[in-house]
Structures are given as C-alpha cells and as structure tokens.
Assembly symmetry: D2
Homo-oligomer: 385 residues x 4
C-alpha cells in the first residue's frame, strides 16, 4: 500500500471516527482512559492504519521516517489520533528503541505487546534537582551491580506514561557509565507516585509522574542495549522521537488552521465576513507559512534520518533544528487560531483552546528551545575552533 | 496617605497575606469562592488598601488613574490580589460607570454595596452570533418600553461575573438606541445559565456566563444613564477598564519575572547556574523591557485620562494602544517565564503555568488585538482623508 | 555530472575566484560592469558551472528546479556569484520564459545570446501610479495593432536590467488582453531613462530603470507567446523566478552566517570569545534554523514545480509561501549577522553591511510580503466558500 | 517659554525650513557639509529653537531631560534636524559632559564654541581589536604622565565626528585608571585617518573615523574631570546620550509613519485605497504602538534622570531599557514604512529608504542590544544572588 493511501486512510479514519467524539473526551484536559484507547486502536487496526512506525513483524506498518511524515501528520489532526494509531510518546520512542537494541527475548516480552497496543510503557530519564534535567550528565539515579543482576536506587519525575504502564525504561548510572534498564511496573522496588499537574493532560494518558526506585532489583536480562551506553541509546532514540512529535503536532496545527478558516468564513463583523478582514487573512497566511515550512523541514530531516541513520551528526542536527522550529511554529499557529476565534477561542467549547494548553509543553520536553539552540550553535561553531 | 505608601502597603499585603495561600487556591483553575473573597477583602480593609478606585464617599481610596497605576500593579502581583482589593473586572468598570452616571438612588442601591465588596456585579454586553461580539452595532437584545418600565428580551454570553452577582448591567436596543439597564439578579425574567468553560477561571470568581432575559420587566428607574446613550456610556467605561486590566496583569508579569529570576538563580545545568546562561539572560532582559515599556505606556495613558477625561479622543487612543501592547507584552513575559522554569514551568506546581493559561483571554476581551489595531490605524489615517 | 558535483564545483569557483575580489567590487553599492561580468562568466564556463538553469541546447546545464536549488545556493554565496553563472534576475526568468514560449526564430535571436551571456535583457512590467504596480490589472501601457505589427505607448519603471540590455520584454494591453512583446534596445521608440536610485545596486548591473515606449513600432514577430496571454506567461515565469531568487539569496544568508560565525570565534569581550556568549549563540542558532527551514521549503517547492509544472496551483502556492518565508528569513539572518559583527557590521569594511542593504528589496520585488500573504490566505479560504 | 511652545516651534522650523531641502541633501548618504550646517543653525537660532540641551549661560535653552523629549522628537522628524538644533551626537553628549565636569577655563575654551555651534567635536572611545569595543575594560590607548603633562599613544576607530572637529575627547589608560583628555584637532600628535564607510552617513557630518595618537602631548589642563575617573565620566555621559538618540530617532520614526500613512492614502491597488487594506492597517497600527511605547519609555527614563541624576542606578537601568527598546522599535517602524511604500520604498526617491539605512547603526552604537540585554539581566539578577 502506498504511503499516500495510508495517509489518506488515516485522515478519513481520524475525521470519521475520532472527530465526532473528540471534544467531549478531551474537554477540560481529561486524559483518555485505556479502555477507550484500546477501542480506538481496534478501530485503527480495522481501518488498516495502526502502528505506522512499528516494525511489520510486530503488526505495524513499518514505515520509513519519511513515509511516517505524512501519516503521522494525518493522525495528529486530532489530539488523540496518535494514541489511536499507537504513534505517540513515549511508546513511539520506546518501540523505536526496543526495535533497535532489544534482545530477542526482550523483544518478545516488551516490544511485542507494546507494538500491538496491548500495553503502554514509560520512560524514566528526568530527575528532580539537583539531578538530570536538561543536562543528562547530572544523572543521580544509581544502578549497583550485584551477583545476579542490578539494584537501582533513585527518584525520577516527568516519567511520561508511568500511570498504567506495564513497564518503564529507566536510565541509571553504573560504574561503567549510564545504562538503560527495563523495569516491570509490578517490580516491588518501583513505585509510581503523583501524576504531575502538567498542562498537557488529554494528550498524556499515562501522565508525567513522579516515580521512585528503592532497592529495585532487576536481573541481568533487564539491561537494555549495552552497559554504559545508556546515553548513546537515548541519543539514538531522540532524533526519531523528536520528529514523531513534530509530525503529530503539525497535524494538530493543520486542524486548528482548518477550524479557524471555517470559523472566520462563517462569522460576520463590521459589515463583512471576518474572513474578508485583512488582519484575519494575515493570521491565516502566517499559519499557512508556518505549516508549510514545518512540513518541509520535517521531511528533509526524515530523509536524512532514513539515509544516514538516526544517530548521524546530520540527523541529530536537523532533528534539533526541526524540533525547535516546529514546536514554536505549531505554538504560533495554535495561538493565532485562538485569536481568530475571538472570545470563543478561549473557551473549551472550541477545540483550539484545549489544543493551545496541551501544546505548551512541546516547546520544553525532548529539549527546551534554549538548550536546542545552544547545541545548534555549538555545532555551527565547531568549524571555527 | 501618599500613593507610594499605599502601593508599598499593597505590596506587603499581597506578599504577606495572599502569596502564602495563593497556589493552593488557584491551582488547576479553581475560582475563588465568595466566602474567601470577603475574608480577604476584610483583611485588605484592615491593611488600608481596599478599594483603590472606588470613590472615597463609598469607602474607597478614590485614587486618580495615574495613582491607581502603581497600586493596581502591586495588587496584581497575585492572580487574586485584585479581587481582594476590589479592583478587578467587571466590578472595577461597573463602579467607575455607576460613579459617573448613577442617580443618587441607584448609587445607594447598587454602587454602595458594590464599592464596599458586599456584593459582586456582572456586565452583559456580548451576544452569541449573529449578535454583538466585537462589533457592538450588531446588538440584538431588545428593550421595549411599556407603560411603567421596560421589557427586555435577548440572550447574552460572556457575561462576566454573572454567577453569584447581585445585579447585572445589561445593554439592549431601544427605539432611541442602545440603552443600559440595571437588572437585579433575582428578577424572574433573568436567568444565569452555563458558566462558559473559559481558560481564565481562578481569576474569574463569577465566571463568564450565558444569561437570558425573557420578558424581563424592569422599572424606569432601572435605566442607567441616558436612554439611547448606552454605547457612549460603554465607551466611557472602556478606557479606564482597559487600563485597570493592564495595571493588574502587569503586576502578574512582574511576579512571573521574579519567580523566574529566582528559579534560574537556584538551578544549575551544564556546569553553571542557569542564571549565567546567556539565553536565559536574554529572556530575563526581554521580560524587563516588556515590563518597563508596559509600565511607561500605562502611566502615560493614565495621565491623559486624568487630564482630558476618559472619553476624550486622546484617552481612547492611548488606552487602545496600551491595551494592545500590554496584553501582548504580558503574554510574552509569562510565556518566557514558563520557558525559564523548564519542565517545571508547565506544571501547576509552579504558578507560572496557571498564570499563562489565565492570561490568554486578556488579548481578546475588552477588544481583541486585531480589532484594536484596526481602530488605531483608522485613527492614524483620519488625518490623510 | 551529478548535481552534488556541480554544486561543489560552484562552491569552489565562487570561493576561489569571486570571494577574493568581491568586497572591492561591491563596496558602496557599485554595480558590476559588463566587462567584468563577461570575464567572470568566461571563468564560470571554464569551471563547468555556467548556465545552471539554461537549456542544454543553448550551452546551459539544464538542471531541474530541484537540482538548481543546491547549485544556485552555492552561486549565491557571493552577491555577484549568480551573475557569473548567469542565473540572476531578470535574465534567469527571461531565459525560462523564452525557453517555454519563444518561436524558433525568437529563440535563435534572443534566447541563444542571452543563455550564453553574450547579452543581458530586461523586463518591463511595473508602471508608475496609477498604472500597474502590485496589481497587474491596472496595466496602462498600450499596444495598438497596425497593419504589419504593433505600436506600443506607455511608461514603465523598475524595468530591471534595462541599462545596457540588448532587448526588453514588455507587457502591454491590447484589445485581446495583456500581451508580451520583445523590443530591441535600439528600437527608436524605446528610451531608457533614469536608473532609479534603489538600495540594491551591486546586485543589479542593469539597474531598475525608468523606460518609455513612444510610438514604438514592433513587427508581428515581436509578440512573445500568445496575444492576450501576457498575464498567463508572466505567471508561468513567476513561480520559477521567485524560487531562483530564494535560492540565490539563501546562499548569501549562508555566507553571512559563516562570516558571522568566524568573526565571533575570533573576537573577545568581557573575558571570553564572543562565540561563547549565550546571546551570540542564540543569534547563530536562529540563523541556522532560518537557513534550514528556507532550504527545506525551497526544495519542497522545487519538487512540486518539477512534478506538476510551474503554472500549477500547488506550484504557485508553494512558490508564494517560499518567497514570503525565505525573503523574510534571509533578511533576519543578514540582520543578525550584522549585529554579530558589532560596530564593524555597519561598515562596508565587512560584507554583511552591503548584503543587508542589497537584500532589502527582496521582500518587495516579485510580490511584496503583504500581497503574497493576501493571496495565500485567499487560496486557503477558497475551500470554505 | 513653555516646552510645548518650543516643541511646536521646532516642528514648524523643521517642517518649514528643512523638509523642503532635505531629500536632496541626504540622498545617497551624502553627509551635510559644515557651511550648510551653520546656515541651518543660524536659522534655528532665529527661530528660537537652537540648543535645546545646551546650558542657558552658553546660549542654549537649558531644557530638563523631560522637556528635551518633546523638542528633540520634533527636531528628529528630519534626519538633519538635530544637527540644525545642535542636539546630535557626539556634540550633545560632549556638551553634557563638559557642562558637568569642565573647569571654567575648559568651559570657556571648549564648551562655549561647541554650545554655540561655532565648532564641532569628537569622542574617541572605541578601539580596534583587541582594544576596547563593547567592553571598555579592554582599553589599550595609554596616557603616560610626564613632567608638565601627558603623552598619549594609541589608535581609535569609530571616533564619531572627527573629520572637521575642533577637538576630541579621548579616553586613555593611566596609572591611576582610565582618564579623559581634551585634545585639540591641530595637536601634531593627533591624526584623523580614514572616515569609515559606515551605513550612517547623512546623519554623521564628521563621520566615524580612524584616528591615532602618536606621542601626542597634552598639558595637565587637558585632563577632563578627574584622573582615573574616565569610566565614571563616560558612564555619566552615557545615560543622557542614549536618551538623546532615542528622542531624535523617535522623531524620525514619526516622520516615516506620516510619510507611509500619506502614501497609502493616495495609492490604489486591488480595487481600493491601499490604506483600506487590512494588512497595511496592521503595519500602521504596529508603528503607532511602537511609537507610543517608545515615547512613554523615553519620558519615564527622562523623568528619573531629572529626579535622580544621570549616574543613578535607576537612570542607567531605564536608559539601557529605553535604548534597547527604542532602537529596535524605530527600526521596525522604518522597516514597515518602507514596506508600506512598496517598490518605491527601496528607492532614494523616497526618504524612508535613506532613513532605514541610516538608522541601522543605532541598534549597535552606544551599546549593542545584546550587550545592553546582558547588563539589564544582570541588574535584574542582582537581587537573587
């Protein structure tokens, strides 16, 4: 099946089966419950659009990064579309990571149920101060090697997806460097604490949680990838994960633009349609420009990832550039779309209000714009040392 | 008592008595209940800072517009400070309006309890499409003159403060033009419907509501100001009301800047305090510039209002300019302050997240930026016809 | 020869043979004289990089629009690089136009010497008020049909390239609609007047001139394309021409970024390299983001032009979006690069000052940003009529 | 005479006597010659508007900083208005400095002829790398104490006003710290070199020059202010000097806005006046907002300077904030005004093109925006150490 056809199907699936129920589900930031998620995923499977970025051997569509671009943008036209297709954080990145570094046994046990949507997962990287926030070198969670495995101790927060997850991927220091571990949610040494009261809720079914590892024993088989290579694995996960976000959120921006264009086409003020007012047209055009530039940048970065691999310097650079630009462009589009709705735009009666609130975190997670700019600048400057 | 001293007292009152309880009250957008409001107002009275813009004869401080600038900015350092001082919408504008056009009897019955904080009020202007939104000429609510009074019929929405208000000021068409009416909340023809699910909640104790007037009879004494002069009265209310908002929200911006500056002074990443990173400093400086420019513009507009009256052309022009600039500057300051908090900035654990969400509507209510820009441009162009 | 290789050769040619002489040539806005232009074109031919967008049968490289992107960006790294390669306005657009609509005889007489760089050409579209400026429907230059040809009367300005051109393509009204004519520069009815004192000079060897057609007789063979199809031909010329500009100017932006990065890597202030200051890094990163987004957008538009033809709706839309975004992004990059040079950035001792001045017109010619935004918005709104 | 009246006279003087000759004088960046400057100054004296910031005892108007705001804005409506009134750099700052620290003899010899417009002066601070640029601590010019005076050695550039100046104020290191010296232009140890090819020309009659001090002997009486207090004196000069610039350039922004508003009121395109197009109105409104915010900020800073002195912390802070904001706001206004002129905006046939080019340096001299932001941020952060 051609990518264009999958994308077209995805658009129809989301518009036909999700749009009608969306506003009620997401209003006021209610997170989607897992029963509904699984129901929607079943429908997505029936529509042939489930798992765009999951490997084919695990029931996914196994699309290249470039092919994902169009499909995930279509999925993202609803705030909960990507959940229905199983291409949303943190599962998207975890699927990618497991597909590349999991042992066959780990793949069977963790990747298979995750790719099929049977379970959800979490990723435990960020730590409360003075631990690792934007700066991963400040990692304080520790894994100590014991005779038949490892004992993990530490506290994490912003553990995305933790509430209700079947397992969590945790990064911890070892004597040989940062290392990733697969931890079952029912491990007695692992506790999911408070769901942090973040602005993104409807789009975060498992929340961003505080979690603790307290003398949390895991066997040697729980090591994901190489001991001491945790940062490298995280980096390899990062470029595709950043792009997935860009694709999904870009879809939401296109939706907001449609909602705004329709709204101002139907409204009248000061003697004409709002759509005929020059300043409203200016907002629409700025939206369109932001959307097309985002789309172009995503596809260019996706092509480079496909050609040079996700861990290549060019891929990382373009993924950083795309994440920075797209997260800010999407924000501007949503913000202008609110403005184009007038007073109604700041009520949850219209989706754009919810979209704006949910999207705010995108400029921070997976690298705040400032940190990304810093790394982009340093890469530029390397040639002049 | 000098303005500077009142402002200083206000700062101390808000910091000492409101900051400690603020986060819990406003978290997750909970509107403050009236019992707490009245308790805080009692404290404000004891601190000698209650009613900065209410007339002295009604227990207020009777400050000039310019003098209000510093005091209201201090009150606005908390999201609920202005409620405690009784200088928040829509009561601020209603007090102003009543003080200027109410008959002695109306003043006794409506202004006195409003100025003292005994009751809250509402303002019913905006109507659902195809009624009056940004364009007041599209007014559809009608008041028909009958033998001993008027019968009002129509639907309004975004009726700010309606839930729990003692009375509402309603604008309706009459044969002689738009006219303002004072309607008691217990009038059987008046119904408060749904509180609209707006993004601003904690700062809107009476919500923005849908209300209906159904064969709502009011006596002749309910006419506020002149029959047919409703728009003129609304205009005279508008310039001071826009400035009040600017002052209050500017206070919140200064608070966010303080929270951000403190936060980055305590955090470390990449080998130094975040406060030592150039891009963080850039955000702080941009905040400072936005704050100082807003402050300067507010005071300039306030001076002109005091000198030339709120309905003068210069006052209206400068109030429009100030509203447009300040609402956007405040938004930028809050947005950067969120960004400076990193991931924590998008959780309700930190106030800046709530501030941002609450402030979004300020760029729309009392004139969306686009409509204001349009009117500013037309005023500029008048000279070249 | 692969595109990548041509691009690489172009980069080497421009860096090796133009950079060393560039500053002296362009300083103070001196336009390059034709002797030097021909000398550089000879060198470009020897380097195998001449004529990237000219047809192969006329000695060009005949690159597809997408392939042009990389090569023209390389050419554009110098303000006069595109002149050396013969891919600069208005000749680029005229070559494109002639290649598509010229008769064989017209091709022999006009396209051949133009493609080879033997002559330069001009385009006469824009008219002084109240004639055709941004709005082509206001065309006032008239061509009257006579027994054996046409008599053109009218005045144009901003006739790009007119000083020293061998011929001019003129658009004029006829009874059957706007029509294009090829007018030899030595036609006695054609006069080149004043070179308008525009900000772009070094990059405009033939200037932007005032010209007049006074009883200017041309034979029937002077009609270019179809009678009455002048606007359609102009439109078909427009999308590729806009993209050519984008590619060339993007090259200049990458050059400015290099100059700025090198400059701040060598300078010290306040105890460290300027390159280590966060705000300088912020500028560099913003430049990089603007450059990559521009590049991505250009290539996406180029791909669509190659696939769907330059006059397709999608091509025109994306070319408009790209022109708007890239012209503004290039301006921002140049402006930040000036700023990164400090005081030296506003002297002609450094190229960035000249770049900035020359680039200003790019946001206006071939469609001012405001007119383009208007047309983009209307295209978006079409779906909601 | 009231300030308002002086301002009104200034407006009339500039509009009546300078506007008619302005375009020809400044076109293409020609610096005004001294004969014309003196002629215009004579006319300004006759009009009673000469010397707004010079002390009364030296023939000036001796206005307070706040009073200067309105007058200098009026003077600045022409690019050469401030020269005619003798309130332009570097003479404005030098007059201010001399008025505060000159000995009676220095005042007689240097301040008197400078205040009267008889002579021009220069200021020699900035040095080529690795000397003092934005960072004054990197000062390399040296003054060595000898028996009866000092011997200065060093090279400066960006010595504003040097060509044709009667004297220069030079800052140089001594054993006791940086010190200011008055050096006559005919001192044999002082050489004025090349006028640097800066973008600001018409507004810089004496240019920004390279100068050298080679065994340049000056007597003890040449020390300006205290030995070792050069930086403090420079700082005291800086806040008023920054504000003067803001006032003058703001005037130019108001002029550009007038020119643009008039232009679009007279032009037609797409079926209506350009002034009726929403996006053009948006530019006009943004200009108006930038102008009013600049004006308000300037007056607030001026008031604080008058109340607390130019060297106070509050004065320096607000002058930095104002300089940063106003220089960028003026740039935006000029840039939009160019855009509103369409193609004509980038020709020297219209003044806005020249205004834009001349204004570019304002965002760099007297403190680049980035350096000012850095200092603003550090001042904000001081409270959180």
């Amino acid at each position: 099946m051609l990518t264009r056809e999958i994308a077209e199907r995805t658009r129809r699936f989301v518009a036909g089966q999700i749009f009608p129920i969306e506003r009620e589900i997401v209003a006021d930031g209610r997170p989607m419950d897992d029963a509904l998620r699984m129901e929607l995923q079943k429908a997505a499977k029936e529509a042939g659009v489930f798992g765009p970025l999951s490997p084919i051997e695990y029931g996914g569509l196994g699309l290249s990064t470039l092919d994902q671009a169009e499909v995930l943008e279509a999925a993202g036209t609803s705030l909960i579309g990507p959940l229905a297709l199983n291409c949303w954080a943190p599962d998207d990145g975890n699927i990618h990571l497991l597909a590349h570094v999991a042992t066959p046994e780990q793949a069977r046990r963790y990747l298979a149920p995750l790719a099929s949507g049977e379970v959800r997962s979490a990723i435990a990287m960020t730590e409360p101060a003075p631990g690792a926030g934007s700066d991963p070198t400040m990692l304080r969670t520790v894994a100590e090697e014991v005779s038949d495995g490892w004992i993990i101790n530490g506290a994490k927060h912003f553990t995305t997806g933790a509430a209700g997850a079947a397992f969590v991927i945790c990064i911890a220091r070892t004597d040989d460097g940062p290392t990733m571990f697969l931890v079952d949610a029912d491990n007695p040494g692992f506790k999911v604490g408070r769901r942090m009261p973040t602005l993104d809720r409807a789009s975060a079914p498992g929340g961003h949680c505080e979690v603790t590892f307290e003398d949390c024993f895991v066997p040697d088989e729980a090591v994901l990838g190489e001991v001491g290579q945790g940062m490298e694995h995280a980096q390899a996960r990062l470029a595709p994960s950043r792009l997935t976000f860009c694709m999904n959120w870009l879809g939401l921006a296109t939706r907001a633009q449609e909602l705004a264009a329709r709204h101002i086409s139907e409204r009248h003020a000061f003697g004409s349609r709002v759509a005929d007012h020059g300043m409203a047209q200016g907002h629409l055009a700025d939206n369109e420009i932001d959307i097309e530039a985002s789309r172009a940048l995503i596809r260019r970065a996706a092509t480079v990832i496909d050609e040079q691999g996700p861990a290549s310097s060019a891929s990382r650079h373009l993924a950083s550039v795309a994440k920075t630009f797209v997260s800010e462009a999407v924000w501007r589009v949503l913000d202008r779309s609110v403005q184009l709705h007038g007073g109604l735009g700041v009520t949850e009666d219209h989706l754009v209000a919810r979209f704006l609130v949910e999207a705010r975190a995108f400029r921070i997670y997976e690298g705040p714009s400032e940190v990304l700019r810093w790394s982009i600048a340093r890469r530029v400057l390397r040639a002049y040392r």
